[in-house]
């Protein structure tokens, strides 16, 4: 053993060091826990130097620029940029809220909600690694920054805090290959997962090829990842094409448009926002205006309240009107007592202003042409069955009354069920035949209109 260790001392040390680091990685991966002390040491050692360098750079080169070239314009410009950014965020918020259909509701929501609580930070350095896209900002846990917080600019999302140290924080940009966030498109409401690519463009993955995504369409955060509040702009589609399994959608991130991000906002308390209404895809249905209360041609008794919503309400009002005119109180009287004369109702085919009508003849089954109810109750015979029916009107409009009389030699009482005529063309204005032998009208009118038969009926004596 001693010989082996002395003979292969270099290799042994190498293996020990490698295995130790592998165990360190395995511990971090398995417990999902960093080694904070080592990171704190490194960051604490590096970031003050970075901050000092940044200060030196700003107060040397920046001083020269400010004093000799732009004098106060630089600071004023920075202030205006800050104000502009705040106003853009506020404007974006207001637009999103006011873009909803219910303006009053949007205003109440706006009053109830407060904008996200943020803290401004400045990027002071990059992370290590050629492919990684991480930056350090000069705000840490002492400023309230915690790991997992979203980092945005007024133009869009920038990244998320992956580590928060006392004086600085490490922010993973959305272009990092390991970055992921939930996004949704503005126009077609297509959901996907934003992924970094290691370069300027980002990819929206897990979108089915069948989904519709247009070029130039905006994507917003969906809030599904519980890091970024819903409604923050992410970027515009630069290219979208079908892929092998999922659609390949590339975004131009709006938060990183200016290339090097200088000032960022860390969302200490994010507030979900509405995604601005764009050109929504066809919903597949259309909500029409409610119908007018008084439909042209529909029976509408005089003095009737105009707030009748349905045909049944109108029919009920008609019954009440007739009962009032004929001094009949519905719900009183014994069974078999005299009912009101419903033939006076407007719109009843052949209706005449009879004050009352006594059924002199027992009700007989109606002819098939007389209506659906009669047709069902009575088996059609002979030529009666051959009379074609045309919709709800039956054979009423199929020919002159004389023709029908030839096919129905024996007069039969016509059914006098109340008819609700919603279309004036359904009524038979030429019919001057007085109905006879009307059966007792039903207490509850049948739901379907029963057209009168076209056969002429013998006149019946009128009651004085």
């Amino acid at each position: 053993m001693d010989f082996f260790l002395s003979r292969y001392r270099n290799l042994t040390v190498l293996l020990i060091v490698i295995v130790a680091q592998l165990l360190l990685i395995a511990y971090q991966v398995k417990t999902n826990n960093n080694v904070p002390l080592m990171r704190v040491w490194a960051v604490t050692a590096v970031t003050p130097v970075e901050t000092a360098l940044e200060l030196v750079r700003r107060y040397t080169w920046g001083f020269v620029v400010d004093y000799f070239v732009l004098l106060n314009v630089r600071s004023e410009n920075e202030k205006l940029q800050r104000d502009n950014g705040q106003l853009k965020m506020e404007n974006h918020y207001l637009k999103a809220e006011l873009g909803t259909a219910d303006r009053a509701r949007a205003l109440s929501v706006f009053q109830a909600q407060s904008p996200s609580k943020t803290v401004a930070g400045r990027v002071i350095g990059n992370g290590t690694g050629a492919n990684s896209k991480v930056v350090f900002i000069d705000r840490g846990s002492t400023s309230g920054v915690e790991s997992g917080m979203a980092v945005v600019t007024p133009d869009g999302i920038v990244g998320k805090v992956v580590d928060a140290y006392p004086t600085a924080s490490l922010v993973m940009l959305i272009t990092d290959p390991t970055f992921a966030a939930g996004v949704i498109s503005q126009k077609n409401r297509v959901r996907g997962t934003l992924k970094g690519q290691g370069h300027n463009d980002t990819l929206v993955d897990y979108v089915q090829n069948e989904e519709k995504v247009d070029g130039g369409e905006w994507f917003y955060t969906s809030g599904d990842d519980r890091i970024f509040p819903k409604g923050f702009p992410v970027g515009q589609v630069s290219a979208a094409r079908n892929g092998k399994n999922f659609k390949e959608i590339y975004l131009n991130p709006s938060g990183l448009q200016s290339g090097s991000v200088e000032e960022v906002l860390v969302l200490l308390q994010g507030v979900h926002q509405q995604i601005p209404d764009g050109e929504i895809a066809s919903p597949g249905y259309k909500i029409l205006q409610p119908p007018a209360d008084n439909v042209a041609g529909s029976p509408q008794p005089t003095g009737q309240p105009t707030a009748l919503a349905t045909d049944a309400d109108r029919l009920r009002e008609q019954y009440k009107q007739i009962g009032t005119e004929q001094k009949h109180v519905f719900g009183e009287g014994i069974p078999g007592s005299k009912p009101p004369d419903f033939t006076k109702m407007q719109g009843i085919r052949g209706g005449s202003p009879l004050p009352s009508l006594t059924p002199a003849v027992p009700p007989k089954p109606a002819t098939p042409a007389g209506g659906d109810t009669g047709a069902i109750a009575q088996k059609p015979t002979g030529s009666q069955a051959a009379v074609p029916k045309s919709g709800a009107n039956g054979g009423a409009n199929n020919g002159p009354p004389g023709d029908s009389a030839a096919t129905a030699p024996k007069p039969k009482p016509r059914p006098t069920a109340p008819i609700l005529v919603t279309d004036p063309t359904d009524a038979d204005p030429g019919s001057d035949v007085v109905p006879s032998g009307s059966p007792k009208p039903p207490a509850i009118p049948p739901p379907s209109a029963t057209p009168p038969p076209a056969t002429p009926k013998p006149p019946v004596p009128r009651n004085p």
Partner: protein, 175 residues
């Protein structure tokens, strides 16, 4: 074996030159600072892997595998601490680079610019490729490896390594 290759392989080195301890701390710190700060303003310099070049130079000039292993590991761990990856990824890669560079230096004349260029190029490619392998194998991240870009960046790093190594040699003291 030609005379030239024999010269490359057998020329003795001056082992009396070494770094002062303070430079062993400052030089990698400056390299890491450069990597985290300068690309903010000069983005095309992000291809420079100065901590790797420092590791390679130390290993080639010290010719001590064990010292190079720990030196590379230290630089790599500091890099890991400033990244969002688990600590140890850069550490393992730079440990291997330090060990192999020190082993190679005992066989080649590493003062030769051509050998320096080739070794710098090779170790950059090895560093990037092995990091990609570790990333996929240990962390399961499906990152892509752009061979063409890595080769080009390797050449650029090797080109930077030549003057950088000359500057670093000036920091060594005899004794």
């Amino acid at each position: 074996m030609t005379e030239y290759t024999e010269h490359l392989l057998t020329e003795p080195r001056k082992d009396t030159e070494r770094f002062r301890f303070i430079w062993l701390l400052i030089v990698p710190l400056v390299a890491i600072l450069f990597q985290v700060y300068v690309p903010r303003f000069v983005s095309f310099l992000s291809y420079l892997e100065l901590p790797l070049l420092i590791t390679v130079h130390f290993a080639l000039s010290s010719r001590a595998p064990i010292a190079s292993v720990f030196y590379g590991m230290s630089i790599g761990l500091v890099q890991d601490s400033l990244s969002h990856q688990p600590i140890g990824m850069f550490g393992i890669v730079k440990t291997l680079v330090g060990y192999f560079a020190a082993s190679v230096s005992m066989r080649f004349d590493v003062d030769n610019p051509f050998v320096t260029f080739i070794l710098s190029f090779f170790f950059y490619f090895f560093h990037q490729f092995f990091y990609w392998v570790l990333d996929r194998a240990l962390l399961g991240e499906a990152l892509s490896f752009d061979v063409q870009q890595t080769l080009i960046f390797g050449l650029l790093n090797a080109a930077v390594a030549l003057p950088l190594f000359r500057i670093l040699d000036k920091l060594k003291v005899t004794g």
